[in-house]
C-alpha cells in the first residue's frame, strides 16, 4: 500500500503547487529561467537524436519494404507517421525524462538536503509553489515546441540519409511524407506532449522535494524518478492512444 501513500502525497503536492504564487514578478522571472534551463538547453539533444532516428527509421523501413509490389514512397510515409505518432512525443518524452527529470530531482533534492527549502519555509515562502510551479509550466509550455522540432529534424534526417545511402530517392521520400497526411496526428501528438511534459516535470519534482538524507539519497531519488516517470509516460501513452485514436 506504499504506492497509495505516494499517490496521495503527490496530489497533495500538486494542490500546494497550484496555489497563487507569492509574488507574480518572481514567478515570471523563475519561469523564464526554467524555460531556458530545462527547455532551450534541451534543443541540442532533441535535434541530434531526431536527426539520427529519422535517418535510421528510413533505412529500416526501406529494408522492410523491399518488395517490388510496394511503392517506394511508403518509406517516407512510414517515417513521417512513426515520427509524428510515436517517436517525437513518446520516445522523446522518455529520453527527456532522463535529462530534464533527473535535473529537476537532483536540483530540488539538493536544495532539500542542504536546508535551502527549510530556509524558504522559515521565510514564509510556499516552497513547493515557488520551486515546482515554474518548472511544470515551463516544461508543459516547451514540450510541444520540442515535439514539433523533433518531427522536423526527424524528417530531415530521413531526407538526408535516404538519398545519401541510396535506399530511396529524394523525390520518392518527399512524395511519401506528403502522401495521405492526416493533420489530426499532429494534434494527437501535441495533446500527448502536454501530458508527458506535465509528468516529466511533476513526478521528478515530487521525488526531489520529499528526499531525505544526503547526496546518496538524492542520486537514488533521481533514478527512481526517471524510472517511474518512464512507466507513467508509457501508461499515459497507452490510455491516450486508446482514447484519442481508436475510441
Amino acid at each position: 500500500m506504499d504506492w497509495l501513500f505516494h499517490v496521495g502525497r503527490y496530489f497533495w503536492m500538486l494542490g500546494k503547487t497550484f496555489s497563487r504564487p507569492e509574488k507574480f514578478k518572481m514567478f515570471v522571472r523563475q519561469l523564464f529561467h526554467e524555460i531556458e534551463g530545462l527547455g532551450v538547453n534541451s534543443v541540442g539533444i532533441v535535434v541530434i537524436i531526431s536527426l539520427f532516428i529519422g535517418g535510421i527509421l528510413t533505412i529500416q523501413l526501406a529494408y522492410n519494404l523491399m518488395n517490388p509490389l510496394l511503392p517506394v514512397y511508403l518509406i517516407g510515409l512510414g517515417t513521417r507517421d512513426t515520427l509524428i505518432l510515436e517517436f517525437s512525443s513518446t520516445i522523446l518524452a522518455l529520453i527527456l525524462a532522463g535529462k530534464i527529470g533527473s535535473n529537476i530531482t537532483s536540483e530540488i533534492g539538493s536544495m532539500k538536503v542542504t536546508e535551502q527549502i527549510d530556509t524558504l519555509e522559515v521565510m514564509g515562502v510556499n516552497s513547493i509553489s515557488y520551486l515546482i510551479l515554474p518548472k511544470i509550466v515551463a516544461v508543459v509550455f516547451i514540450f510541444p515546441f520540442l515535439v514539433i522540432l523533433s518531427i522536423f529534424f526527424g524528417l530531415l534526417g530521413g531526407l538526408i540519409v535516404g538519398p545519401f545511402t541510396g535506399v530511396v530517392s529524394l523525390t520518392d521520400y518527399i512524395d511519401g511524407i506528403r502522401y495521405l497526411f492526416v493533420p489530426y496526428y499532429v494534434t494527437f501528438t501535441l495533446i500527448k506532449s502536454v501530458f508527458f511534459g506535465f509528468l516529466v516535470a511533476s513526478v521528478p519534482a515530487y521525488y526531489g522535494y520529499f528526499v531525505q538524507g544526503g547526496a546518496l539519497e538524492v542520486g537514488k531519488a533521481s533514478t527512481k524518478a526517471v524510472v517511474n516517470t518512464n512507466i507513467l509516460i508509457l501508461l499515459f501513452d497507452l490510455v491516450l492512444t486508446r482514447l484519442l485514436l481508436t475510441a
Binding site: 536544495m111 535551502q116 530556509t119 521565510m123
Partner: protein
C-alpha cells in the same frame, strides 16, 4: 521575547523533546546546548514551525504561534531570520542575489533601495567585493556571514542560528559569534542559537539552556555554567580537555 511552554515532540513513538519550557528574552544571545542528538535542533525546528509539536505552546511576544493558521504565521515569519548550519545559501544565486531575495519576495522597495539595503547588510557582516560571486566560490566562513546578512535583510525581530560556527576554524568561529552578538544588541533581536561549542557558550552565552536526551537539564548563563554541580552538564563541558584542565588548575582536582 520568545516563550516555549511544555513542548513535546515525538517521532516514531520516541520523544525527541520532552516537556521543555523556557523563556528567551530579547536583546541577548540565548543558547541551546547539548550533545549531538540531544534534541536541540528538533526544539529549534518546533520554535520555527518547521515541526509541529505534539503538545505545548510557542509564543512570540505573547502571540501563540502554535495556534495560528498557516496564513497568520506568515506575519510572524516575516519577522524571523534564520541561519542554518551549512549556511543554506541558494546555490543558483550570487551573494548579492541571496541577500536581496527576501527583499524581492516581501517588499515593494525600489531597486535602488534594495541595493542599498543589500550593501548595508553585507557591510555589517564585513563582506566586501564578493557581491557577484556564487556560494560555491566563497569560503565556509563567508557563506555563514552571507547567511547572516540574508537573515537580517528584512530587519527581523527574531534571529535563529543552528550551529552557526560548526566546521569553521576557531578564529572564524569567534568572529561569527561576535558578529551574532553584535547584531543582536544593535537590532535588539531575540536571538536563539543552537550549539555544542563550549567556546561559544563562554563567549556569548548570556542565557543558556542545556538539553539532555530531549529534556531540559540545566538553565543558566556563561557566568555560572563552569561552576554548575549538575553531573550531566559537567560531563558535557569537561569532555573538552581544555576546560577540564582549566577546572583542574582552578580547583586542584585531578
Amino acid at each position: 521575547m520568545i516563550e516555549v511552554r511544555n513542548i513535546t515532540k515525538i517521532f516514531d513513538g520516541k520523544a525527541a523533546v520532552k516537556d521543555i519550557s523556557m523563556q528567551f528574552p530579547e536583546g541577548q544571545a540565548n543558547l541551546i546546548i547539548g550533545r549531538s542528538g540531544s534534541g536541540k535542533t528538533v526544539l529549534l525546528k518546533c520554535i520555527l514551525g518547521l515541526y509541529e509539536p505534539d503538545s505545548g505552546e510557542i509564543l512570540y511576544d505573547g502571540r501563540s504561534f502554535t495556534r495560528m493558521k498557516s496564513a497568520e504565521r506568515k506575519t510572524i515569519r516575516r519577522e524571523m531570520g534564520m541561519v542554518f548550519q551549512g549556511g543554506a545559501l541558494f546555490d543558483s544565486l550570487t551573494v548579492e542575489q541571496n541577500v536581496r531575495f527576501p527583499l524581492d519576495m516581501f517588499t515593494t522597495k525600489t531597486s535602488a533601495e534594495k541595493a542599498n539595503r543589500v550593501d548595508f547588510c553585507l557591510e555589517h557582516v564585513d563582506i566586501r567585493g564578493a557581491n557577484k560571486l556564487f556560494p560555491s566560490e566563497i569560503s565556509g566562513g563567508m557563506q555563514k556571514r552571507v547567511a547572516i546578512a540574508r537573515a537580517i535583510a528584512l530587519n527581523p525581530k527574531y534571529l535563529f542560528c543552528d550551529e552557526p560556527n560548526s566546521g569553521l576554524d576557531p578564529e572564524t568561529a569567534t568572529l561569527i559569534d561576535d558578529l551574532i552578538l553584535m547584531l543582536t544588541k544593535e537590532f535588539k533581536m531575540t536571538t536563539i542559537i543552537n550549539t555544542h561549542d563550549m567556546n561559544s557558550v563562554i563567549q556569548i552565552g548570556e542565557s543558556v539552556l542545556f538539553i539532555h536526551q530531549g529534556e531540559k537539564c540545566w538553565q543558566g548563563n556563561r557566568g555560572n555554567i563552569l561552576h554548575s554541580e549538575n553531573k550531566i552538564l559537567e560531563d558535557f563541558i569537561f569532555a573538552n580537555k581544555l576546560y577540564a584542565q582549566m577546572r583542574r588548575e582552578k580547583t586542584g582536582m585531578i
